[in-house]
Symmetry: D2
Subunit: 491 residues, 4 copies
């Protein structure tokens, strides 16, 4: 059943031309007023989901309490009047962009964490990733009498748990997650426990931190930094940790597999100040720029980032090439999510609401623009026009990722395959389509090198999930296949 | 899990001293933009529940849509922007005061209609009444893997339906309602059908009307009047009607029992312009005043109603006694639900915010005050004080119902037994407690006579449910008995 | 300059067919947290203006503070968060319907009290009435360099005060009010004084009360009742009272004239529980019904009020005629200001949103309907239709005021003369237009008798302002005359 | 009179440690729906004032209309429902931080534009700057009968205009502005004209642009860019332009003086993509970094900006010194104005809400931090702590402006002199206070060189206003002197 959001969310002028992470998860146990920490963690993870957020907390006296809100964490989960309704020493939170089920039309009931009251007590879960067999599981559960409250794939997990015959919640969660395919980093809580799990491939990140006498779980390390937690380690692919007053227990409920962490987390999704797989994300991105400058040099006067995500790679490109780095495009820092343009005339000014070219700098110069990715190509065209309007002599695009030619089914919001520019054009065709003097993407091997794999991609057994670039899906997207999605033909 | 309401709802100064109906239900099929009609019907039934309301509508193209809001119907379900999200020719609605589960702390998720997606399609239900074995059913359903979303007793019905093995929704509803004990008038809908059911005793009202080419179901006839529908008939106790494009089918899914309609609907709950059991509610109330004047005459100068519910009985008392009727107490028509008094000093003025004595009229007079009921007695004391402050010579209370000595478990919000004044005091003790010159309640037989039973109550087989006066509960309140409630000892 | 209201205010279905009082004023001095008392007084005076309200308070430490809000007092001036911003022992308040300047489109800047900072300190004023030479004064003041902030006639007073050369505020107010023509009951405050003034004719009411150690001024006595103040006396026509810590001083700043209190205050504007000119308003209205029954008897089965304003006169008519009084029309108590009907189809149901006929009672009966006035006649027609639809055998209208044939220029919102039914039709023509079996208005003499003038109207020197009935304007409406308004030709 | 803001505005964690521009002004004439353009211009100027904004527009049929709102332009002046209330081809707008009168407690009535209805028609004005003799003017105007509606210094202008005896509005504005001392860039409008004025020293910027057939005035060129207007020229110091359908007229109403543009506009206030005095602001800032590297070199591993305002100077420092540029501190892009921390514990995390150190990068490195200014020094200390916590080996601060030792009285919100760190400490003392390895400010001459004055500051006749650094106030701050402010002793 549809339920309209309380307020409409128009996207950024460029939002339809970026891949979007769908979720961030956070949990904490063993601290006073856990929900405050959860809110801070969610604020640090806001880049992983801006549409809505939710918190569940548990207090021995007040029981489970929850709040779900559309909009930014800072606008909702900062008010004392709301936070006071979420007492207790355990809490989990979730920020989301949108779900598989109802894109662009999220109901508040689709906002996680999801909660179930079982005979042995309540359980709340927050899920980052995407369950690739959710449609089949949902059909089966409805047939057996479960009532779904949302259109989210993640709700399957809590219904599977409700129907498990195990006598405690961690065991029920193992039961449930063994039925689930796809990508999942899950943070869950009971009245006394905080639980974290990553799928066997470890597609989405999840890290463990120590905060005072308590513990925190976060999608990224930046969520630990904001609460002053010490980063202990990543949760391993296929690991479940159960934390309570007695400490941490670790389980391996799934069959062992080689990990396939999402390489796009390095390119774009994660925050530059996070540490993934022992590497600074910022440094990986700067190194991508270095690799790009080696792979695709060009004579020019200035290297300019497309703000803000192209910045580290532009710095690297400048450092490797010796061409000066400059802020050729200035972002309006007061541009929020919504600028509902009032007239057609104004709407046409779209891109100017967010970015402005630094005219004095650009005029007559040969400009290298460094961007993180090309999805539909529409943004690249608009930026090229702005730069040329300002009098640039040449425009050269350098892209900090390989061509994005395949959709992601593991928790990232991608357009359909046909709408991905790289699925229908070669690099040269894209250059002509966008209308720039040159356009070069980093190679897949170059990206792997920047991410620390000195020998590049191991094609026999790739170190990362790079399906969006390679079409090599490590988990069969079964719901999609049922709907007619065609895998890459064997070569 | 608790979820705080979006806005606090303070009660009227006197709200804690009235019994409160918990719900009103309404449904319509076969009209364009059914939700508009549902909103009007809910507005007419607002006296049955002021805390929140919800509508579900179905459109062949747009599917099921819903909206739930705290506050008055007129403040929410009148906005074109909201109503446009509820298209289609079938809709049901519900207004509620609060549920058994979470009194005074309703979460939006407790607001009906409830919805379930079954394998054969969606179903929404709205329930007026109370399920007396809800706690036991809930335990059983959770044990078997159902996840409850609300604290409402009514949610059991939709889960029982989800687990039924019947192949169509009306049959699943029969299955479910046969497991349910207590009072229920249910309005439900599928993609093509509108369904109405009353429990075998017919405790709560439900009527059928014809609106253009379509049909309407409403708790009371005033809900039909507002949409210009013709009142066809009451749904019988124990009857289920299933209405679709082909017409109305009637079923009798329950074992036949003698009906026991709630007599308090006549005294207070229903609107005076409704017709119950073929009788004008206004006329019954006026007749109560006539009976009271016969049973409990007193010499006085003026008969004044306690506004607004005492008015018809006061008119009847005046007409029978010949003592002039007068508006001795004036109600502030701008007094809404909420007047959050800012200081202690002001809070003590509580009653003046709502009522003012017509001083010029009252001074030096012997006043008969006619009120509908005495629950805790606190209101009666405050009104007595106001009247005496204004210089009345004598104050005589006449009450249009027998002493309320027992709680209701069939969908009315009553204080615990110990807090009911009549459960601990005789009529004379109450008179002294309230501090008036005389205090008389109508007799139970007098009330039955006013309600059209010329011979009064048939004690062997009472014509109405009058448990709140008599302690004679027609359905065993099993959840309450389990919690320790003591039935009246056999005499 | 126009400024749109923060929220739109749709009128009641019948609001366009009633005369509307434009303002109520209230002030208090010498109590802790005066603003709380002011809010209560404004709540009691809400019937005199529902569109907006404002409070100014002064505290020795915090200085002057103000708040202005659209909507009901109870929804705004009850929140502790707002009231805490209005500390101090002196405060005044104002409720308004709309001003002469910007009907239906009130800006928050038109909401009183108005405030001016003079060299000897600040002053706030609240005005009930209408200044008939406001346009001329405004022109003159602008010419001399005053900047108006509102479109309100009342703002002239504060500018005239700002330009006075008197050295204290009460003297400046005398200066200003001597320049002003029309009707005014003004409540004003300085840092230490509360001031009340009535125009020489005393067209609008203003009363003085004692509350604890302090004093209150209120448009009506019901404003005193709600705060528990003792009614001391009316402010005399042409009197100014200045109240401070030392007590009350009384001045007579104007040339003495015979008073002409607005008789429509008795008929409709004031609350029935107020006392005007030593008489209970309720009792005057009941007496109007008695006079009507004598002047215009008719055989019938029931006397029914048009709720709620026709009720006292209907009671009087029933008592004089011996025909039983009955609630033939029931008002929906949850009908607020706004019911924005979503579709054309629903909009046509307009009147049913507010009123419902008590069908069981009306069918086959001859009904006398008692209403307070006929303005455009549109309401009367709708009500007649409802009554006939319900099966009434005959419908007889009895109106508790003479025909309203002239607009009011003294602070009441009336349609233009041509839109007043009585300005273009005789009583018989109105009867045929409305389509009822009979229609009778009370005579002007009958109204005066009910208001305590045993000999009726003294045509040589009328006791009341009755310009809306008689066209006899006690103060020349000079702005209107300039705009072309034609006075009644001398007879 | 105080009026509390509709919503509280908490400052950024660092807002109390930055100088804040107080206003931006924008106007447009000769375009359809001018208010849309004004809103866009205000959005581009949002960095000049984030607390509130207002627009006045004029339409030949609808007259003058206005809207004033707290909060960001994008959250208010983008809604069609609001913008439709502001029709017409002329409009002006204003964004503000706060006024001299009521810092941190702005009432909506303090929000510009201010409006006055004169006998020859209405006039609205928007003012950037500060009137240094406002208090004296205000006293005089009140004495003569003017009523002030705000606590803003800017309101004096409209009252002076109201009292002018000139017969047209531009002449009245000349009259008024000749009475005014201090800094002012004013944009004003009548029914047919758009007017722009700069004070004789030209302290605040104001530029003219051509948009289609119409014209625009804007505080900075970035306001022209966003609406696609062509930058024509700056309004000269001491110039008034009057634009209507016939074109532009230029006047010089003031005695000629040498210009003294605010040099801090180059350092911090203006946007990097604006062009001031023919120079790219970004380029000037980068050049400041170059000068700093020459004046204050140091051996280190990385040059990191304090985001975002230190970025261009850090790039320049890196380029001149050859030390690599790096993003050592990451700003949370979802940090808005408000993060009302719920508990003491969380509040102490203040700085982490906005910034996070890029730990992987910083550890073990010698870091040069480039910031735009040091006001109180509190921010610098917090940032130093974060950097050291992350394991930096050395921390060297380089500041892109000279020590800020004097308050600004020309439209910038500065702390009192005693709270400016540089007014009480030498550079070395500040280094020790902040606790860093070295701390160097650019010299005043170095700053002038970076701003294009090859020979540095002309001490005999300085090219800029640099009072905040030098104590050399080009206009006597007369209201401040009256309150006891001590000018710098002659050397």
């Amino acid at each position: 059943m549809r339920q309209l959001p309380a307020q409409p969310f128009r996207s950024h002028p460029f939002d339809d031309d970026k891949l979007k992470e769908e979720c961030g998860v956070f949990g904490v146990i063993g601290v006073a007023d856990a929900a405050n920490f959860v809110a801070l963690g969610m604020h640090a993870l806001q880049h992983r989901g801006q549409e809505a957020g939710g918190i569940v907390a548990h207090d021995p006296v007040e029981g489970f309490n929850s709040a779900r809100r559309f909009g930014y964490v800072r606008d909702n989960f900062t008010k004392a009047s709301l936070m006071e309704t979420l007492p207790g020493p355990i809490g989990i939170g979730h920020v989301r962009y949108s779900t598989a089920g109802s894109k662009g039309n999220t109901a508040i009931r689709d906002v996680q964490p999801f909660f179930g009251e079982f005979s042995m007590g309540g359980c709340a879960i927050a899920h980052n990733g995407n369950i690739t067999n959710a449609a089949a599981l949902r059909r089966e559960l409805i047939e057996r009498g479960s009532i779904f409250q949302s259109s989210s794939d993640s709700e399957c997990i809590i219904h599977l748990m409700a129907r498990s015959i195990q006598k405690n919640i961690p065991e029920r969660m193992k039961d449930a997650l063994r039925r689930v395919e796809g990508a999942f980093s899950v943070v869950a809580m009971t009245r006394t426990k905080l639980i974290g799990v990553r799928d066997p491939l470890g597609v989405r990140p999840l890290v463990l931190g120590r905060v005072g006498e308590g513990w925190a779980l976060s999608s990224e390390t930046c969520g630990l930094d904001i609460i002053g937690a010490e980063f202990i380690r990543e949760i391993d692919p296929g690991e479940m940790v159960v934390i309570d007053a007695k400490g941490i227990e670790s389980f391996r409920p799934f069959e062992q597999r080689k990990s396939r962490f999402c390489i796009f987390e390095h390119v774009y999704f994660s925050r530059p100040d996070s540490i993934l797989g022992g590497r600074s994300v910022y440094e990986t991105r700067r190194q991508i720029g270095v690799e790009l400058a080696k792979e695709a040099p060009v004579e020019a006067d200035l290297v300019c980032p497309v703000p803000d995500s192209g910045t580290p790679a532009a710095i690297g490109y400048s450092q490797e090439s010796g061409i000066p780095y400059a802020m050729g495009i200035i972002r309006n820092q007061y541009m929020g999510r919504t600028f509902i343009e009032p007239t057609e005339q104004i709407r046409n000014m779209g891109v100017r609401l967010k970015l402005n070219v630094n005219r004095g700098l650009i005029k007559g110069k040969r400009i290298i623009l460094v961007d993180d990715s090309v999805v539909r190509g529409t943004t690249s065209m608009k930026i090229k026009e702005m730069i040329l309007d300002a009098g640039a002599a040449e425009v050269h695009f350098r892209i900090a990722s390989p061509p994005t030619a395949w959709p992601c089914f593991y928790g990232v919001d991608t357009p359909e395959k046909e709408k991905l520019l790289a699925s229908t054009m070669t690099e040269d065709e894209m250059r002509d389509f966008i209308g720039v003097d040159s356009l070069k993407f980093i190679s897949l091997d170059g990206l792997y090198r920047a991410a620390g794999e000195a020998k590049g991609r191991d094609n026999a057994s790739p170190q990362y999930c790079d399906a969006c670039f390679s079409g090599d899906y490590p988990v069969a997207p079964s719901d999609q296949l049922e709907k007619g999605f065609q895998l890459k033909a064997a070569e």
